[in-house]
Symmetry: C2
Subunit: 478 residues, 2 copies
């Protein structure tokens, strides 16, 4: 990424100048990053984009061209001088990339002075919202594919180059096995795949001639697109002819791809044709505006598809193209002391959880399955030798007591007083972590339609603090 | 944009190596860029992203790191040596950025050798699809706002940094008057706007104190966000208090912003409160998950909103997050001659228009209103002194004769034999062109729901060529 220091909403800079002008710029504040709803009515959200956030914050600095521009749109010299020496000096904690998270849980917490904390809101959200959205969508699509390979093919419909590149990375984290995007392959070491398009076939006088030319160049990885003219009458028979010629030369073909038509009917017949011709190991890859619902439906009908290429609907998360992550003030220094802050709303779902907080995941004794999460204040500890009782934050009579359990605090340090301390991982490792996280969820939470809702409760101390602050606010009403 | 040369689908490179290996890499081909459906059921598509395409193609070159990577994923040395010296040497024509276009019309045509034409497909589509989508969405939203100012506020929900930046530019072209995105402002000279967030209010002991602090820094551009606690009981009364204090100091306030709640009710009462307090010129700006349907609905109820801030639903085109632009082979050199090519499909909508083509727009005599478009072969000319009869390409008995009309060919040169000849415009000029284009459409084509379908016909010569090729193909069927 190039210099993104000016990638922020104008009001962040207005507020920064306001804090500076009012002598409040150095006051410490805490902001939480969280979301209120899983995308696509999913049962969880898979967090991605953490590495982009680290890169962005590490590289924050304003050059003279930036400052000249800001002056031209009305900012004052004294403020610009503050920006000239800007470096991020705060502390950020958050969950490792590839962690499964749930609504209302802090995914990151930023503790910094007002000035710095405000600047970074918009781009942190931009990076986390999109990449988490696509990782989650990929996890849904891979869930529907039930272990079949899923390829990310969305470059041409992605919302710009970054979406194609960062989306491809997120899709891989979410479970895709490869991408068609060569630049994403180079940048992140994601496996790349692809064979030929319809235009290859059209370029030749006949489909058979086109297939032969392709097989000549790629005898050892011959995978042919068979739907340019007529899949079953022309494409598959011509492919079989070429596969037979390849076998005579000592090569085994890889298979065929079908990109249009009724994929259930076509793949069943194509499978029979390939099997009858002696190519039971030739794979069938399908693509054609697929998503998790279509894959599920095709699987239900017994379509004979080995691998799935998914484009538009994955890379844009087309039926839900935004994750609504927000960045809310939860504590602020007032007269030298960090005080919890709450944002009240008529909509109870929108009332924030106040204070400097952390998230603890409760696992079964083996540590393999996640049972519930607790949002707690930073200074709280749980005695694991005692039974642990949690309660619903609204229907407080609904309680659950764990007697044998294990705990994990989910956040790790990203930045400590301005220094990046997050250990970057290869994308392959992030993907492995994500797969372990998905494995830790009971299938009920991963169901594609109406999943069971995972329990996210507040610690007693946090719950009390929130109640007190809500009541206090009510008494202050005009 | 950084080096995007590897931003392509793997199969483009597979095919390029195949063409090279089969001695076909130098053969000339023509590809058309077009789309089959307007986004959001709109009556037109506003083309944007042309400048990004020019930049991308001008900068195409593979460095040694790119070639090393390609070698590592299996490409051959001879082919990589071809890539080492790669420059785009072809000819591209297309419509000026900010042109209104319709389904099936070539938006661009790429005439180049196989090798070059194939490489650039994926990124051309990526750049044109997204930016045209957002320009069109912005045009819809501005149509709903009926001349009110619309601000683009989508940075935090855009699908990555490029989407935020290029999307902001496209939204401006489509009719937005400003953006919150400071980097887009700097890069393209788009006006930037913004005041403060809820966190500013929370940072202070009271809303009134926060408003006063903001007014102190920005006495001459005081616009206050009034919905942090209670819009009508606290926010607006406190804003009025501060506005009165400002007026005593000789400043006129700008207005208020409301970001939640029932925007129709709240703005009507807030308007009364402001008017009664002597601030009839204080503007009311609304934001809160808006789109063209919500804006239309609020306007129908007489909401007192002067300007609209639109975020997620604009920057992602949330109800239709992809424009399905495609890149299809329409002619190819065979034995030294450029022959038209057709792609047959069971779906008649998906049969391509063959040949090297252009688009002519038919206007009324004044040249002010567009009446219909004709897709023609490149070598065709129309005699403007004679009546012009066009006919429906399927229901051919449906004809229309123009007696007084004027014509414009829509495509202009982008690249001539590798040299960029497109005259880049300031975004302000592109926006002006787009507004003229929108003005040239009768309101019936701009209706947000079930717009009248604009006529796009084929010239007689092109229609005949297509018929012949379809019948020829039918006889070749196995």
């Amino acid at each position: 990424m190039s210099n993104l220091s000016l990638l922020t909403d104008f009001y962040q800079l207005s507020m920064m100048q306001g804090y500076w002008d009012n002598g409040l710029g150095e006051d410490e504040v805490v902001f939480d990053v969280f979301f209120r709803k899983n995308p696509c009515n999913n049962g969880f959200t898979l967090i991605a984009g953490v590495e982009s956030v680290i890169d962005y914050i590490e590289n924050l600095a304003f050059d003279e061209a930036d400052l000249d521009y800001l002056k031209s749109v009305g900012f004052q010299d004294g403020f610009l001088d503050k920006l000239r020496h800007f470096r991020f000096t705060g502390t950020i904690d958050g969950v490792p990339e590839g962690t499964v998270m749930f609504p209302q849980e802090p995914v990151m917490r930023v503790r910094a002075n007002c000035f710095e904390a405000q600047l970074i809101e918009s781009t942190i959200l931009n990076l986390i919202n999109y990449q988490s959205l696509i990782a989650t969508k990929a996890a849904r699509i891979c869930e529907a594919a039930q272990g079949d390979a899923v390829f990310e093919f969305g470059l041409r419909r992605a919302q710009g180059p970054d979406a194609a590149i960062l989306g491809s990375r997120a899709a891989y984290i979410g479970g895709c096995v490869a991408t068609s995007n060569v630049l994403a392959g180079q940048q992140f070491g994601i496996p790349v795949v692809g064979t030929h398009a319809h235009s290859w076939i059209q370029k030749f006088d006949s489909e058979l001639e086109a297939f032969r030319a392709y097989a000549k160049t790629y005898p050892d990885k011959c995978l042919l697109l068979v739907d340019t003219y007529n899949t079953l009458k022309s494409g598959v028979p011509n492919a079989i002819t070429v596969f037979q010629e390849l076998r005579q030369q000592g090569y085994e073909p890889k298979g065929i791809r079908i990109d249009s038509g009724d994929l259930s009917y076509l793949t069943k017949v194509a499978r029979e044709q390939l099997d009858a011709a002696g190519f039971p190991n030739a794979a069938i890859i399908a693509s054609s505006d697929l998503d998790e619902d279509k894959i599920h439906s095709l699987k239900m009908q017994g379509a004979r598809i080995d691998s799935w290429g998914v484009g538009t609907n994955l890379i844009t998360s087309s039926n839900c193209p935004a994750l609504g992550g927000v960045y809310k003030l939860v504590a602020a220094e007032q007269k030298g002391v960090l005080e919890p802050k709450i944002k009240i709303s008529d909509n109870p779902q929108k009332i924030t959880n106040p204070g400097y907080k952390k998230v603890t995941r409760i696992y079964d004794e083996s540590g393999l399955f996640a049972l519930a999460d607790l949002i707690m204040l930073e200074d709280e500890q749980i005695d694991e030798t005692e039974p642990l009782t949690i309660f619903h934050p609204i229907y407080t009579w609904k309680t659950k007591t764990f007697r044998r359990y294990s705990l994990k605090e989910l956040m790790i340090p990203y930045f400590h007083q301005g220094k990046a301390v997050y250990q970057k991982q290869s994308v392959r490792n992030v993907r492995s972590h994500a797969q372990l996280e998905l494995d830790s969820l009971w299938p009920e939470y991963k169901r594609l339609q109406f999943p069971q809702i995972y329990k996210v409760d507040l610690s007693k101390k946090l719950w009390k603090l929130k109640q007190e602050m809500m009541h206090q606010h009510q008494h202050q009403e005009p």
